[in-house]
Amino acid sequence: MRTCGATPGGPSLDGIDLTKQTVIQGVILKDGTDGSVPNGTAVTNGHVRLLDSTGEFTAEVPTNLDGQFRFFAAPGSWTLLVQAPGARVEESVLAEQGRPTDLIIHI
């Protein structure tokens, strides 16, 4: 459950010093086009990989029970690679210190 006042995609930012951390976060949702799951269902068995501007692996996390993920990165260009059973999606992001990058990614 996301708490009141939380950001649109990722986990609550309570307790995180955003003046020091460069946060990239979000939520992975099923687009439901295959008809097997309702549109917008949280992907709880996904893996989100953070690649740097050269495509090199930087970090990877599994999605949580709400389909969410979070990285502490550095300012600049990054790529997110989302993997789940039968799905693989890439998305480019620009991260800034002080302002979290918060995403909703459909797969």
Binding site: K20, Q21, E56, T58, E60
Partner: protein, 277 residues
Amino acid sequence: MSRETSLVTADWVAQNLNNPKVVIVEVDEDTTLYAQGHIENAITFHWREDLQDGVIRDLISKEKFEALLSKSGISNDSTVVLYGGNNNWFATYAFWYFKVYGHADVRLLDGGRKRWELDARPFVTEVPGRAIAKYVAKERDNSIRAYRDEVIAAIGVKNIVDVRSPAEFSGELAAPAHLPQEGGQIKGHIPTAKNIPWSKAANEDGTFKSDVELKEIYQSAGVDLATDTIAYCRIGERSAFSWFVLHELLGVNNVKNYDGSWTEYGSLVGVPVALGA
């Protein structure tokens, strides 16, 4: 020491879930995922709570290791199969740890939790009960473990391989990007170290690349494996992954894991440090 003796596939694990000789252990820095679901009959070890001394910074003692394995129902003749999240980082650390204490038959599930999950194989929440065993460990094998003085002496002499991400190597980040940015007192890398990120050795699904591809990674980086090699990262788990590649998959004997890694080296007073790519 070969792919055949050190690595098992998900199919192999699926066929051996109820093999009484096999003990499956999920190892991670956070056992929350184990509680949510794990491979049938797997037990779990927590990287810090079970495998770190907790008072001094070190592995647990031989006696504590024996007690941990005994209460977990692991015998000296058990086939221990390790796997975990985080691309098997902590599972390979545990593999190295089992080798330090001389366990005969320990194997790693290729691709770990991620490959199992991407295959949509089942997880269960039941925690298996295991009968207590009597485990006797060997004395620590320090031929696969490097300490800080040996690392300092190796600068410009032996191969030093920094397996962290390029951003950590250059000094841009202090820790992997899914963790708060803390670690050693300073950022950077050990002079003369070559940056060969652990991830070069893994396919996108977390499984290991072929032996031919693995050899090429080190050759193209100019690492002569005839010379002694020390691998390090931040806390010694990703370097255990690269140690596994060299020592177990490629059969290179003269490789050590520096488990003190950057959290130790980057906090030492007066040692040389390099910045940049």
